[in-house]
Each structure stands twice: as C-alpha cells, then as structure tokens.
C-alpha cells in the first residue's frame, strides 16, 4: 500500500497526534480499516500489558500492610507473687514479633495491680495524649498515688482515669489472666 511515500498535507496549526492519525487514515490511506485496526490493536495490547503489570505492582508495593504489627495472644508478664497488693507494679516482657523478614525483639510493658493477690488488672503505661511513658508517683492526686506523664504534665489517677492535663482518654487497660501462678496479659 506504500502510503509512506505519498505526500501528506496537513494543516500545521491544527493538529494533535490524534488528529494526524485520523487525517492520515481518511485523506491518504486507501485502506482505512487496516490502520484503524492496527491503532486499536496497539492501544489494546499496551493497555493489557499495563494492567497485567500494574495490578501486581500495586499489590506488591502495598505488601503486607494489612498484617498486624502488634503482638498477638497472651504474654507472660510476671509471677503472681511478685505483684505487691495495693500498689501497681510496672512489669515488662520481651516478645518476638515478625517484622517483614526480621524476627524483632519487642518490649511489652504494663502496670499490674491487685488488691487481694487473686484478681489482677493491667494498665498500659503509654500516655493517651502523644504516646510518652507515664510513671507511678505518690502524692499525685489529692494525696494519693497516680500516673504522671512528664511530656505535657498529663495526670491519671490510680485506675487510669483522666485527672488533668491535655490527655484525651483514660489509660488503656489490658485483659489479664492468671495461670499456674503466672500473670498473663493480652496486648491486642
């Protein structure tokens, strides 16, 4: 069909790649169907390949973003006798958690308290404002002990309830169980 060697006259001022192709096909090409078909085929194949690559690529980059990064299940924190009744005790435990391809060591901490040595409660030591660590201080809330956050002077009472400062919510409490003399905490 030898269309390449024919002289093609196109108005230089009005064109986009789109228009040129259609002008070419109607003005010079004796066989417009073939050109239209090829154009469609090229666009179709390109779109198919782009989709076949693009969708896996997006999922690949998203990776395991849905995987929970917290430690799941029960974590042994301390033996029940080591918790002195009446006063919250900060205990920590090291757990292993999978971060991508790395088995990382991670610290779990909680204030554990009991009144009678049989029933236990556990409070997070993470401030609900911006995540600093709170400490137990005597004489904090009207003469009795409470939790103090040094970052912006947040104050919680002994049960974790908000007393003063910018803290928006009480300290998080964890589920606790005692099994064969050991205190376990569920951190999820």
């Amino acid at each position: 069909m030898n269309c390449g060697s024919e002289k093609v006259v196109i108005d230089e001022r009005s064109w986009s790649s789109h228009i040129v192709v259609s002008q070419l096909s109607t003005a010079v090409n004796p066989d417009p169907d073939r050109r239209t078909f090829l154009r469609g085929a090229i666009a179709g194949i390109t779109a198919t390949v782009a989709t076949l690559l693009g969708i896996p690529a997006a999922w690949f980059l998203r990776g395991r973003a849905d995987a929970s990064s917290t430690v799941e299940g029960w974590v042994r924190m301390a033996s029940a006798d080591s918790i002195v009744p009446g006063r919250p005790t900060l205990v920590t435990a090291t757990v292993e958690k999978q971060q991508g391809w790395v088995a990382a060591q991670s610290q779990v901490a909680a204030f554990i308290k009991t009144e009678d040595g049989a029933h236990f409660e556990a409070l997070s030591n993470v401030c609900t404002h911006l995540g600093c660590r709170v400490t137990l201080q005597d004489d904090l809330v009207e003469g009795s002990p409470g939790f103090f956050c040094p970052c912006h002077d947040g104050v919680f009472d002994i049960d974790g309830a908000v007393v003063s400062g910018p803290v928006p919510a009480p300290l998080e409490s964890f589920e606790v169980k005692v099994d064969e003399g050991d205190v376990f905490v569920r951190t999820v």
């Binding site: 009005s14 986009s16 790649s17 896996p56 999922w59 690949f60 991508g100």
Partner: protein, 219 residues
Amino acid sequence: MGSRLGSWVDERLGWPSAIRRTLRQTVPRLSWGHVLGSATLASLIILILTGILLSFSYVPSPDQAHATVEYITAEVPFGAFIRNLHHFGASALVVLSIAHLVRVVVHGAHKYPREFTWFTGVVLLLLVFAAGFTGSLLPWDQNAFWATAVRMQVIRVIPGIGDRLAGLLMGGNELSAVSLVRFFIAHVGVIPALIVTVVVVHLRLVHNHGISGVPDRGE
C-alpha cells in the same frame, strides 16, 4: 480545542510533531526480524520496572539478603510473580539482544553509515552481560554464591590484571559482605544508568539514519 492544546504543547516541547514525524516516517521493506530491537527494549523496560519493585524489599547484607528474597517470594502479594518476571525477563533480554545482533549482521545493517549505532549496540550487549553477572549474586543462595565464586576464578585467569580486577569487583580477596554491596550498587545503580544512557544514544542514531531495510539481491 484538542488541536489548540496540541499546538500549545508542541510549540513549547516539540513532542507531538516528533510523534507525527515518527508516524509519517518512510520505512523500507521490513522483515519480522526487525521487531527484535523493540522486543529487546520492551524486556529492558520490564526489567527496570520489576527491578525497582524488588529493590523496595531487598537488603544487600549477607545476614538479610536471602531472607528478604524468601520474604518477597513467599510473603509479599505477587512477589513470586514480580521476581520471576525479573528472573526470566533477564534471560529474555540476553536472548533477544543476541538475536537482534544476529539479525543486524545478517541484513548487513551494521555497515556504513551505521557503524556507530552498531558500536553502541555492542556496548549495550556487554552492559547486559554485566547486569546479569552482578544480578545473579543478589539472591545470595548457594547457587548465586558458588556460581559467582567460579566466575571470579575465571576473571583471575586474565593475564596481568586478573587478580587485581577480581579484587576490585569483590572489594577484597573473597566473596563477602563487601562484594554483595558492590554487586548490588553496580546492578541497581551504575549499570542501569549506563544502559539507559547508551540506549538513548542508540535509539537516537536509529532515528537519525532511518531503519535499514532488508537488502535486495546484489546490494
């Protein structure tokens, strides 16, 4: 509206008319062998894209490299697909490059005035080999390690500079953490940059000279 936008862009960037010139290019008699250059370019593009993806989850350190590759293959969604696309795409690139080279020789397309196009093509082939050579160490499994160790022995045999060249590549006397980082940076940084640069020159030259057709009898 479309044409106004078209000429606005064209006056400033010159792109639409470049596309138009390509579309209106007069081409000589061609053969199916002429698609091999574009096929080579397509596999190069796939390798660059999948390579970028893989590098998001790869750590070039002896204690983590293999774990990250396992993680990509077993854990990341479509990880095995992307990795295999890179793996087999690399083989395809080598095969297609050589087929392209053979096609050019058979049609005599490397001769005047296209010597420099041919020269850049040969440089590209060497760079492709270098990319394959450095990339094959990165999975850091037994196969990758020992295959590279053997290739290093081969390099040592080069008279005069062999030992020094092997030492330079490995960053020492044996394959180690130092070598792995060197191979990684060569594979993902230095070699791709060179390949892309030379490909641009190569394509520019192809465009300047026009495509060389199938020669006629007696030509």
